[in-house]
Amino acid sequence: MKRHTISVLVENHPGVLARIAGLFSGRGFNIESLSVGETEDPTASRMTVVVRGDDLILEQVTKQLNKLVDVIKVSDLTKEQFIERELVLIKVSADGKSRSEILQICDIFRARIVDVAPKTVTIEVTGTEDKIDALVNMLKPFGIREMARTGSVALTRTPK
C-alpha cells in the first residue's frame, strides 16, 4: 500500500482534530502520523497526516475531508513535489566506551546531542522518514531507551 502525505488546512477550532481523526478511524484507516500546528494565519491550522492505503480509498478519504465544514483545503502531497521533515528525540544507552561511537554516528546524520547523563545520551534529529529510520537502525545496537517522534510536517515545493 502506498504511503500518502496529506496536508489539511483547517479552521483553528476546538473539536476539529476529533472530526478529522474520526473520519479516518470511522473507515478503519490507521493514521501513521499526524501533526498539527498554527499557520501564518492564526485562525487556521495545518494538519499533516501520513497514511497508507490504496489510491481509491485515499481519494474517498480526501473527498470526505473536503466535505467537512471546518476543512479549508486538502492536498495529497504525494501527487506533487514536496518537502517533508520530522523531528525525533532518541534516548540511547551510552557508557564511556560507546559514547564516542554514538557521537560519530550523530555527526554523519547531522544529529545533535541535547542531553548527556552518565548512562545515556539524548539525540535530536530532523529529516525525512527514511533518514530517521536509518539513524534509528544504527542506534538500535546501543539500546534505545525511549523515543518520541513528531510525525511529518510537509509543504509543497514552489515551482521554479
Partner: protein, 557 residues
C-alpha cells in the same frame, strides 16, 4: 441596541429563519427557552419521546422542503434524538437539532444530565456546534440553517449550554454566511455536461436511474422533460419514488433488491446509465461488478464524495441536479432505439409486480392497493421499515415528489408514525397515511398521545402479521425457517390501544372489510389506527438475494 438573553436571541433567530414549528420536548436546562417559546409565534409540537421529535422534524422537512427543527434537553433528551439525526443524515434531510447542555463551567465534569452530544453526533451530522458564548449564538443559528439546507442537505446540531441561554448581549442577526470551508458547487462543469450529451447521443439503450437528490433539488419537472426528450426509461430508488410519475409509460418502477424485474433487467442490459441524484447504495447495486456491466455510466450529483464511491463512474458531473438538467436538456435528442423501448415494454408486461389477488385472506399488497385507490394516489405516505416499506414502495403508485417518506439509508423502524406527524403538521390539508408493520409501530406507539392531543388526522395502517416480517422472510429463505425472535404473536390489540389513547381504532379481519375501513378512516376527522390482520407468511417478491447480481432475481419463494 437592546440587550437580549440567549433564549430570546434563539427564538428571534428562528423566526428570522422562517421557522413556524418546533418539535420539542422540554427539560431542566431548557426551561428558559421553553419559557420564551410559551408566547412566541412559533408552534411547539410536543411528542412523547425525543426520538419522535427528530423523526417528526424529518417528516416535516421531507414533506415541505423546508428545514425541520427539533429540540430536546441535555443528556438523555439529546441522546434520544440520535437515531432520528442519523436517519436524516443517511437520507440527506435538512433538519436543525437544538439540544440543551449543562452550563459551560460544568461541561466535562459529569454534571447531572450531561452528555457530550457534539462528540456523539459528530459522525452523523453534516456539522455541529457547541455554542460557548452568547455572542456567537445568532451567527451559529444562521450558519446551522444555511449548512442544513444547502449543498447536499443534512442534519446540523447546535448544543446550547444553559448559561449561554441566560447570558445577555446585543442581538444582530447576520445577513450573510461566509464559511471558507463550505462552498457547495451548483454549476456543473460545461465540459462534463458536453461529454454526457455526447454519450447520450451515441447511446441506443439508455436508462435513467434517479434518486432522492432529484426531490431535494426540486428537479422532478426537469427529470420528466429529460426523460421524454431522450426517451430513456426511468428506474427510481426507494427515496426517489415520486420524483417521476408512476403513471408515465417510461417508468419502470423501483430498482434494486425488491425492485421490478423490468428495472433490474434494463439496468443490467443498458449501454448508458444516467445516475441522477442517487448514490449507488448496496441495496440498489447488488453485486457491484455485475451492476450495469456493459454501460457507460454518467453520474450527476451535488456531492463530490458520492462520485465513484461504490461504482466507478465514466462521466461524473458534480453540481445541482436541477441546474445541470436544465443545461443538459437542450443538448440532447431522442436516443433510445425503438427496439430497446420494445424490449423494456416487454419486460414490464411480462414481469409485473403481483400477488395472489384471488386469496381469501387479506394480502398486505391488497391493503396498499386499496389505500392507493381510496386516496387516488394523492396521499402522503410514510412507512416504517421492513416488508410494509417494500410493499408500500411497490404497490402505491407515487405521482408527486415529497409524497413518500421512508427511512432508506438507516432503515429505522419506528420512523414512519412520527414522520407522518411531521408531514401532517407541515401539510394540514393533505391526507397522510403511515403504512406500518406491527413490529415497527410499537417502536414509537406512544405518539398516539401526540396525534390524539393535537387531533392530527394521521391514519396508521398496520399490516399486522404478528411477525417481524422481513427478518422472518430471510429466516424462511436462508435460515431453514427457524423463526428466532421474530414471532410477535403476543401483540396487544392495536384498536383498543388506539382507543385508550383517544384515537379511533378499527380492527379488520375480513377481506371485504378492507376498503370500507379505509374509507371510514379517510372520512374521520381525527387520527385512526387501522389494524389489518394480514396473511402471516407473505413474502416480499421479487428479490435479489444479498450478494447476488440484480439480474439474478428470485421471482417467487
Amino acid at each position: 441596541m437592546k440587550r437580549m438573553s440567549g433564549a430570546e436571541i434563539l427564538v428571534e433567530s428562528l423566526r428570522k429563519e422562517g421557522v413556524d414549528t418546533i418539535f420539542g420536548y422540554p427539560g431542566g436546562v431548557m426551561l428558559g427557552i421553553f419559557d420564551k417559546l410559551y408566547d412566541a409565534p412559533i408552534r411547539v409540537v410536543l411528542p412523547r419521546h425525543e426520538q419522535a421529535a427528530a423523526h417528526a422534524a424529518d417528516g416535516y422537512a421531507r414533506a415541505s422542503g423546508k428545514v425541520g427543527v427539533c429540540m430536546s434537553t441535555s443528556g438523555p433528551g439529546a441522546t434520544n434524538l440520535v437515531t432520528g439525526i442519523a436517519t436524516a443524515y443517511m437520507d440527506s434531510v435538512p433538519i436543525v437539532a437544538l439540544t440543551g447542555q449543562v452550563a459551560t463551567p460544568l461541561i466535562g465534569g459529569d454534571a447531572f444530565q450531561e452528555a457530550d452530544i457534539t462528540g456523539i453526533t459528530r459522525p452523523i451530522t453534516k456539522h455541529n456546534y457547541l455554542v460557548k458564548d452568547v455572542g456567537e449564538l445568532a451567527r451559529t443559528i444562521k450558519e446551522a440553517f444555511h449548512i442544513a439546507s444547502t449543498g447536499r442537505p443534512g442534519p446540523v446540531l447546535v448544543d446550547l449550554p444553559k448559561d449561554v441561554t441566560t447570558n445577555e448581549t446585543e442581538f444582530k442577526y447576520p445577513k450573510t454566511v461566509d464559511l471558507r470551508g463550505y462552498k457547495p458547487k451548483y454549476q456543473g462543469h460545461p465540459r462534463q455536461i458536453k461529454r454526457a450529451a455526447e454519450a447520450i447521443s451515441k447511446s441506443e439503450r439508455p436508462v435513467i436511474y434517479a434518486g432522492g437528490g432529484v426531490i431535494s433539488s426540486g428537479a422532478s419537472q426537469e427529470l420528466a422533460e429529460f426523460a421524454h426528450k431522450t426517451r430513456a426509461p426511468v428506474a427510481l430508488t426507494l427515496l426517489g419514488l415520486g420524483a417521476f410519475p408512476a403513471s408515465d409509460p417510461l417508468f419502470m418502477g423501483m430498482l434494486g433488491m425488491h425492485g421490478t424485474k423490468c428495472a433490474n433487467s434494463a439496468v443490467s442490459a443498458c449501454d448508458l446509465l444516467i445516475a441522477i441524484g442517487a448514490r449507488f447504495d448496496d441495496r440498489v447495486t447488488g453485486k457491484v461488478d455485475k451492476f450495469a456491466p456493459d454501460a457507460c455510466i454518467s453520474h450527476i450529483d451535488i456531492d463530490p464524495a458520492a462520485i465513484s464511491k461504490n461504482v466507478v463512474v465514466d462521466i461524473p458531473i458534480v453540481g445541482d441536479v436541477k441546474t445541470i438538467l436544465q443545461e443538459l436538456i437542450p443538448l440532447v435528442t431522442t436516443c433510445a432505439s425503438e427496439q430497446w423501448l420494445e424490449q423494456v415494454a416487454k419486460w414490464k408486461k411480462e414481469f409485473p409486480l403481483t400477488y395472489d389477488r384471488k386469496a381469501k385472506t387479506i394480502k398486505p399488497q391488497y391493503v396498499i392497493e386499496q389505500i392507493w385507490e381510496a386516496t387516488h394516489g394523492e396521499a402522503i405516505i410514510a412507512t416504517e421499515v421492513g416488508q410494509n416499506q417494500m410493499w408500500a414502495a411497490q404497490f402505491y403508485k407515487f405521482e408527486h415528489p415529497r409524497t413518500f417518506l421512508s427511512s432508506g439509508g438507516l432503515g429505522t423502524m419506528g420512523y414512519g408514525f412520527p414522520a407522518a406527524i411531521g408531514a401532517q403538521v407541515a401539510c394540514p390539508d393533505k391526507l397522510v397515511f403511515d403504512i406500518a408493520g406491527d413490529g415497527s409501530f410499537q417502536m414509537n406507539i406512544q405518539e398516539l398521545a401526540t396525534v390524539a392531543r393535537l387531533r392530527l388526522p394521521v391514519k396508521v395502517a398496520i399490516l399486522n402479521n404478528r411477525f417481524l416480517g422481513m427478518v422472518r422472510q430471510w429466516q424462511k429463505l436462508f435460515y431453514g425457517g427457524r423463526y428466532s425472535s421474530t414471532c410477535l404473536a403476543d401483540n396487544p390489540d392495536f384498536a383498543k390501544v388506539a382507543d385508550a389513547f383517544g384515537a379511533k381504532g378499527i380492527k379488520i379481519t375480513e377481506k371485504r372489510d378492507v376498503r370500507p375501513a379505509i374509507d371510514e378512516a379517510i372520512n374521520t376527522a381525527g387520527p385512526v389506527v387501522l389494524d389489518f390482520i394480514v396473511e402471516r407468511e407473505e413474502n416480499v417478491m421479487p428479490m435479489v438475494p444479498a450478494g447476488a447480481a440484480i439480474s439474478e432475481m428470485i421471482m417467487e419463494a
